[in-house]
């Protein structure tokens, strides 16, 4: 049966609510008896807390709660339990929460914060991960080996190495010996802010009677957050209820407890009154989470014909003060430093290093964006030296259908080559450059990448059909803005055979909707989509069985389309609503559970002990950029970006294209403009006036291209798109700058000052 909704650019279900301003975000919520919470943050990068005196703060009229870390002495962390809700005896970065107050008004809280007296004993601090690795560096987490670890994350006791991993395949030494040319380069990928429109915000309410918490939050993984709180507080998961809100942009930044943990800590002391915590933009920029900065050293051996003999990669990740999702970023994200290429001999060392800075966490790409910067910049360095065309060298080495991944997994649905061809074609690769005008020079660049999705992982959903035939899809896939609700409704409508408008997709509530790993790693369409296929198929079969009984015919002759039951050769027999009226004469609802786990897929098979590196699907993307560089100012104007993405199958092409367009803008913004200006651990540009994001004036023509290779195990052949999408943008732009003016910038961002300096040095 041809799907009626899947594959079509259906307008998003949340569109009207959002464009009218009626959509409710955590910031907008106001509950009866609600108090406002505010946070006192550390002014020092590293210090012992000797005393926190809250007595004067408690006297401020309207203030109901004033606490410090000693009042709520729990630790949390989804990967490593290394982080206090509020600093207990030590602060490790400027902006770390030290005390919290809640009161009747925001102004009362602000006043109370000024009355808290904290005595610190300053400790030596370390800001550069290379310094933090040095012998005798000040330690952030002495005794870190005693922290609870939820995963194979190896620390190095007595150092600042939060976690480390290595991988080797073949024999790199032999590979280097066989090489005609060896390339050694160091690249730097900088920290950037997620910069969502909606700052971090959450509400929490504690019930003293049942010792339970309710949290209203836009987090991308409500069930995992509930588990993290449960692990931290030592209470069962069912006493922690997460009610999801619309998320005004997450990009990974809302994938850990941020505002939630602070609201929960205060709620414990407010006698049942809910507490709302809303970050200021300053706190969002300086004390939420960032992308990990990374120093990436690549040594690559090449044959003169442009094939690889070996690559050695050494990556140092700048962790900031606490683990957050860093251990997995450093472990899984590092692997794509080998690109979508056939490289016979590999060696990788990845170290994640604590520093006295804002916490780094998950950021769109989960490490892929950083290592792609290095891999793809070096690819052009290699191509130039070998006298090859940048497109040609990529086409020569890119993975093909049924190639083995570096762990031995057979790769299927490999659209690498097609994305290279389509993106390069759309940008006009190989055509003569338009004539330069005055001081301006034009150039083109290309970059490609691949990314796995978190594997294995699980998604569950519930589909409820009410007695009138209307359908409710209960899932914990939060609408983070990418159109999750819409595509899941499209899949449900086509799977069951009901009209799209008969389906509602409420926000997740962990007390009702079953477990989902989270809206992360571009996994929702594939995993939750498959769970919806599972539940929807069960619903459909049940309905057709009932129809068989009611209509006294063979179910095999029946079909359910758009809420109507049709019989082969006869036509419409009965509507779903009329059928259910007969079944549920005294009321009722049809309820089915859907489940998908990638764990059992045979496609994950790999070399012994290496299956953990397999991915249930692989995403491929190529961006090609055309830029114009002003050689007098160093300013880069991006003229055009063609972005080809292998999405498997576009459930909703418009939403896929929007993901690509948004990612290109994000990638361009952090390649050219975004940067933290730091001094002694302090972020100086803590406003959007000085932390520059791309504006409409910076956005080039964007050509999104969907490549649909199809995936045998994906719903309707779909894979994912959102996470990988920003990764090739920065190297494509940098490579285009090199093509235009012959300067190679190895450290992001690509600022006019750096380009101008390089141009002058070249002369």
């Amino acid at each position: 049966m041809n799907p009626l909704y899947v594959g079509k650019s259906i307008p998003r279900l949340d569109g009207l609510e959002k464009v009218t301003g009626r959509a409710v975000y955590s910031v907008d919520l106001a509950l009866p008896g609600m108090l406002h919470g505010d946070i006192l943050r550390s002014p020092l990068p590293h210090a012992r807390i000797l005393e926190v005196d809250l007595s004067e703060a408690r006297k401020v009229p309207g203030v109901k709660v004033a606490i410090s870390g000693r009042d709520f002495p729990f630790m949390f962390g989804g990967m490593i339990k290394d982080q206090p809700f509020l600093a207990i005896d030590r602060v490790r970065y400027i902006g770390e929460p030290v005390a919290a107050v809640a009161g009747e008004s925001e102004l009362a809280c602000q006043e109370a914060l000024t009355k808290i007296r904290v005595r610190y004993e300053e400790l030596p601090a370390v800001f550069d991960p290379r310094d933090a690795l040095a012998e005798g560096a000040p330690l952030l987490h002495e005794g870190q080996e005693n922290y609870t670890r939820f995963g194979p994350f190896e620390s190095v006791p007595g150092t600042n190495i939060c976690s480390t991993s290595t991988y080797a395949l073949g024999n790199v030494q032999a590979g280097f010996e066989a090489a005609d040319e060896i390339f050694t380069d160091e690249f730097y990928s900088h920290a950037v802010a997620h910069s969502p429109m909606e700052v971090h915000a959450a509400l929490a309410q504690y019930s003293p009677d049942t010792d339970s918490y309710t949290v209203w939050s836009p987090t991308d993984g409500p069930h995992r957050r509930a588990k993290e709180l449960s692990d931290a507080l030592g209470i069962p998961i069912n006493r922690i209820r997460f009610i999801s809100m619309y998320s005004g942009g997450g990009f990974g930044g809302k994938g850990t407890l941020v505002a939630e943990g602070l609201a929960v800590a205060m709620a414990r002391f407010s006698k049942g009154r809910p507490i709302k915590v809303v970050f200021t933009r300053e706190a969002e920029l300086t004390a939420s989470q960032t992308r990990h900065a990374a120093i990436i050293r690549l040594k690559t051996g090449m044959k003169q014909d442009g094939t690889f003999t070996a690559r050695q990669a050494d990556i140092v990740w700048d962790k900031g003060a606490y683990a957050s999702k860093g251990p997995d970023v450093a472990k899984r994200g590092s692997l794509t430093v080998f690109g979508p290429y056939r490289i016979p001999n590999l060696e990788l060392v990845s170290r994640l290093v604590y520093t006295n800075k804002e916490i780094a966490g998950a950021y769109r790409g989960f490490g892929t964006i950083q290592v792609t910067w290095a891999c793809e910049a070096q690819m052009d360095i290699i191509a130039e030296k070998l006298g090859m065309d940048p497109l040609e060298i990529r086409l020569k080495n890119c993975m093909q259908e049924e190639d083995l991944y570096i762990n031995g997994q057979v790769m299927r649905g490999v659209g690498s080559k097609e994305t290279l061809l389509k993106a390069s074609q759309a940008i006009g690769w190989g055509q003569a450059k338009s004539s330069p005008n005055g001081s301006r020079r034009r150039g083109m660049g290309i970059a490609t990448t691949l990314k796995p999705t978190v594997t294995p992982s699980d998604s569950y959903c519930l589909i409820k059909v009410s007695m009138d035939g209307s359908v409710t899809l209960l899932s914990s896939s939060v609408e983070v803005g990418a159109g999750q609700k819409t595509i899941l409704a499209q899949i449900a409508a086509d799977t069951i055979g009901v009209p799209l408008h008969s389906i509602s997709v409420p926000h997740s509530d962990t007390s009702i909707a079953p477990f989902d790993f989270g809206v992360t790693s571009s996994r929702t369409t594939f995993h939750m989509g498959n769970a919806v296929r599972d539940a929807g198929g069960k619903v459909r079969r049940k309905i057709l069985e009932w129809a068989q009984d009611v209509l006294k015919t063979d179910a095999a002759r029946l079909n359910l389309i758009e809420g109507k039951i049709l019989e082969e050769g006869v036509g419409e027999r009965i509507t779903l609503q009329a059928l259910l009226a007969k079944i549920y004469q005294r009321g009722g609802s049809l309820l089915e559970v859907g489940h998908y786990s990638s764990a059992q897929s045979a496609s994950l098979q790999a070399s012994p002990d290496l299956q953990y590196m397999s991915s249930i699907f692989w995403m491929f993307a190529t961006h090609a950029a055309e830029v114009e560089v002003d050689t007098q100012t160093g300013i880069v104007k991006v003229l055009k970006i063609a972005a080809a993405h292998d999405v498997g199958k576009a459930i909703n092409p418009a939403l896929c294209e929007q993901q690509i367009e948004g990612s290109v803008i994000m990638g361009l913004s952090n390649a050219l403009l975004e940067e933290f200006k730091m001094k002694n651990g302090r972020i100086l540009n803590d406003t959007l006036a000085d932390y520059k994001l791309a504006s409409m004036m910076d956005i080039p023509e964007i050509i999104p291209i969907l490549v649909e290779t199809g995936h045998a195990e994906g719903p309707f052949g779909a894979k994912g798109v959102g996470e990988l999408a920003a990764a090739p943008t920065a190297p494509a732009i940098a490579n285009a700058i090199f093509d235009a003016v012959g300067v190679r910038i190895r450290d992001l961002p690509l600022t006019p000052e750096k380009i101008l300096k390089a141009l002058r040095e070249k002369k």
């Binding site: 200021t280 004036m697 101008l756």
Partner: protein
């Protein structure tokens, strides 16, 4: 969300009332017009004004009117967007529209006022360099009556002016430019829009009898010294010869030497110095070409 700490608040209905409040206030009163800068600094706790005097209830301070044959008067409460879209200004002082378009975003321009922009005395003001080269004079009211001062002598440092307690800017007068003149405003920010200038240059130039002879030139530079400054030495150098590529390059070196940029979040001192040369050369060439194609008389 950050809340403002309490302050006294006044809404005078007339200019006289405003002057009276400002002169009589024991606390330091800040003037509120568009609020695009003031309220942000208050929220960030950079300033905590004990009193705010909202000027927006005073009528007659937001018009753009011709003043006989001599020039045009812009009320202090005129928004930057009104300046950007004024057909009267586009006809006689196109440079004002050019500068207005460079300021902030459309939403900021809808609120921000000319008087506020001048009174804030930001070294990086988008309006000040153009106003200086257009020989703007400020009409100021105060407890001792009205007076007029040239904008060039108005600024005393970053955020400070010659305004005495009780005084406020009521309007800006721009004399009509001479025939065979052209002007340009060029600004460099980070990214394509909505940035505070890291360097900006305004030039007004009147040609003499030939297309390469400069009769008069005014150069003002922003974001490269403590105040929006007039580059007198550079002007003298330009006047000392006829306009050639070599002479323009020489003048560009002079303007870089005349400014005193600093390193801050937005740019380094050396980048600013290089950019001021580039902006200057481009602005000079642009105003020159505009002067050549301008009508002989206004």
């Amino acid at each position: 969300m950050k809340r403002l700490t309490p302050f006294s608040y006044f809404e005078p209905a007339t200019l006289a009332e405003a002057v009276e409040i400002l002169s009589g206030s024991k606390e330091k009163a800040y003037l509120l017009a568009g609020g695009t800068d003031l309220l942000i600094r208050m929220k960030r706790g950079e300033i905590a004004p004990p009193a705010l005097v909202n000027l927006k209830r005073i009528s007659g301070l937001s018009s753009i009117e011709r003043e006989g044959q001599s020039g045009i008067r812009i009320g202090a409460l005129t928004t930057i967007a009104e300046i950007e879209h004024s057909s009267a200004l586009r006809a006689s002082h196109t440079l004002m529209a050019e500068a207005a378009t460079a300021l902030g975003s459309p939403s900021i321009r809808n609120l921000a006022t000319l008087g506020g922009n001048i009174g804030r005395a930001s070294p990086a003001s988008d309006m000040a360099p153009s106003l200086i080269v257009l020989k703007a004079r400020l009409n100021i009211s105060g407890p001792r009556g009205n007076k007029q001062v040239g904008l060039e002598s108005f600024f005393t440092g970053p955020g400070t002016t010659i305004l005495q307690p009780g005084e406020l800017i009521t309007s800006v007068f721009l004399p009509d430019p001479a025939a065979r003149s052209g002007a340009a405003y060029l600004k460099l920010g980070r990214g394509g829009g909505m940035d505070c200038a890291l360097g900006c240059v305004a030039i007004f130039l009147t040609l003499g009898n030939t297309d390469t002879e400069v009769k008069e030139v005014l150069v003002a530079v922003g974001a490269c010294s403590a105040i929006p400054m007039r580059a007198n030495k550079t002007e003298a150098l330009i006047l000392s010869g006829s306009l050639t590529d070599g002479h323009i390059q020489e003048a560009a070196m002079a303007v870089a030497a005349e400014t005193s940029p600093i390193t801050d979040l937005r740019a380094s001192e050396s980048y600013r110095r290089q950019m001021v040369q580039v902006l200057f050369s481009r602005a000079l060439k642009l105003s020159w070409s505009r002067a050549r194609s301008s009508k002989d008389t206004h």
